[in-house]
Assembly symmetry: C2
Homo-oligomer: 349 residues x 2
């Protein structure tokens, strides 16, 4: 499957940039020998770091950017005045076909705004969505939208289903993904009207895989479906609730094990088991919010991640590019037919 | 604080009724010596069980009910035809002042529908809400609404804040509860319009405690606030996501500890620590969805719970009754003033 591709990196985004970004590229290089890196940033800072890693230097080019986006910059301001930022130049490289995807750990709002304007949405997609994947009892699931669109209509949700479906096939490696709509009850009559309309449309749509129907909040971690479709408000609340609960439970466990001499001895014996547990739920393994629906691959790494996490975000971009995620979305949208929706389609909230 | 009160129990609701209910009452009896129980159900089944627990029998009376609500009965049908059900008779006892509260592990929709019709909403409350409390990093928090109202306006949310506040003071024992509105970002400008309107109203309202502002999904488990206010759709998704994630993590941990001989030995040493952990997150400790905003205390136990969990649901009803939760809600609503809201108040979605 693998082919020679280039990935554009915003070297100046993230808490520990640029060193974290370059080190991340060096980890990704070992995993993806056929990938070239276009590294955008302050050349005076970036070049010495790249030069210190000769094997990375061989597959990379450093491109000077006179500006950089700061964490608290307003997206609208960056859009107007940030044409020479490392983030913008990296996105431009995707638009111009010099790179197959862009990865940045910088300002999310600015990245989304610039990626939308520069790359534009795919034909048939009204609004791009933010997607993320995470471990479940059954394997891995992807959820979208996670906050790009606070209010959605049924058409948006159907398009999210198409995009999430293509992502599950390309990055998660699920041949026939199951798709569910996040709701408050699994009966068909529950929830907001636009959810019921999307349900009716997806039930009769010719999407690859299987439409499961409505799911509830506890189905997310269960892994009941491969693709969880939600409006950006609900998806954002659900993902952050899940993340917060994982942290709570890990802290409860830590406190419980510290509670006695015996349990502290148990930690020593259980170290490999605990390591397995930690690795399985390691947020760095699931680093990378994906902007889906654009004419180009754009991945947002967590700002606070380390080079291991950043390498995983690069991995998501590489997977999407090498497995033709965008072509799959384009094809599926183009051939999407929805025979006689059961109910009227709500235009908006 | 404690005083003689009576609690009405629906003996026929729940997977393991009526034995589970009567055993639950027997556990609660030891914890609350001043509580009397009015037990509604099929006398032929219930009386022998009560008779087998002489200390419970001394503080209980059994009241025959010729009907019972089934798990899959439609609320609208139960409302019309279920006047002799154990659930309905238990609610009637609260309306008539013979009991200070009702606890049922039966059909949630039927309980909510009958409690609304029979008990009616408190003055100043437009819609009752479902609330629940759970463990957090800081202690315990209460969240509402959890599904009674899929669509809400700003006034509803303000009333939920009043009700949750009173619950935190009476059942959780928090003197000055902090209140937050669940949203997708903590900046004041984010999210749906009705959330921003409720934010503006609560910022200037004279509620006891402290209005924190907006919170995000990960703040739920963190315990950032004592009272989490949400519309019924968002609250339902968030609570179920949290519950599902706790189960996922517990399962991951179980699998990790089973993975080797060493880790299985570690379990033996860590048994007390793991017991502490399990107890801390034990869903039976947090059993009981509370219907707030009604002219009477009504608590819904999980249908699948055991007698220990049911006793905790009884405990919630007793706490609310003995600490005057409803009077606090009535007082706070009556004296609620909101000087010059900063923005227009959205009427609905």
């Amino acid at each position: 499957m693998s082919q020679d591709i280039s990935i554009a990196l915003d070297a100046m985004g993230g808490d520990h940039a640029p060193e974290m970004v370059v080190r991340g590229a060096n980890i990704a290089r070992q995993r993806f020998p056929k990938v070239h890196f276009l590294i955008f940033g302050d050349a005076a800072q970036v070049e010495p770091i790249v030069a210190s890693m000769p094997l990375l230097a061989k597959v990379s080019s450093v491109h000077h950017a006179g500006q950089q986006v700061k964490a608290d910059d307003k997206p609208s301001v960056v859009l107007r005045t940030g044409r020479d930022t490392s983030m913008r130049l990296a996105i431009d490289a995707v638009r111009d076909g010099r790179a197959a995807g862009v990865v940045s750990a910088g300002n999310t709002g600015a990245l989304m705004a610039m990626a939308k304007v520069v790359l534009r949405t795919l034909p048939g997609i009204d609004r791009p969505a933010i997607a993320s994947f995470f471990p479940t009892l059954r394997g891995e699931s992807v959820m979208l939208d996670l906050g790009a669109n606070v209010q959605c209509d049924a058409d948006n949700l159907v398009q999210f289903a198409v995009m999430g479906n293509a992502f599950a096939r390309t990055v998660l490696g699920v041949m026939e993904p199951s798709v569910g709509i996040l709701n408050v009850g699994s009966e068909d009559i529950k929830g907001h009207e636009y959810l019921r309309d999307a349900h009716a449309m997806l039930r009769s749509a010719n999407l690859p895989g299987r439409f499961h129907g409505f799911i509830e909040g506890d189905d997310i971690a269960k892994g009941t479906v491969d693709v969880i479709v939600a409006d950006g408000f609900t998806g954002n609340v659900a993902l952050k609730t899940l993340e917060g609960t994982v942290k709570l439970y890990a802290e409860f466990m830590k406190q419980a094990f510290r509670s006695s001499v015996l349990s502290r001895m148990a930690i020593l014996l259980a170290r490999p088991a605990l390591k397995t547990l930690r690795a399985r739920a390691d947020p760095r393994r699931y680093n990378g919010a994906i902007f889906l629906g654009l004419n180009g691959v754009a991945v947002k790494s967590h700002g606070g991640t380390d080079s291991f996490g950043f390498a995983n975000a690069i991995g998501v971009a590489v997977d999407m590019a090498q497995h033709g995620a965008l072509d799959k979305i384009k094809d599926d949208v183009a051939r999407l037919t929805i025979p006689e929706p059961a109910g009227p389609v709500a235009a908006s909230l």
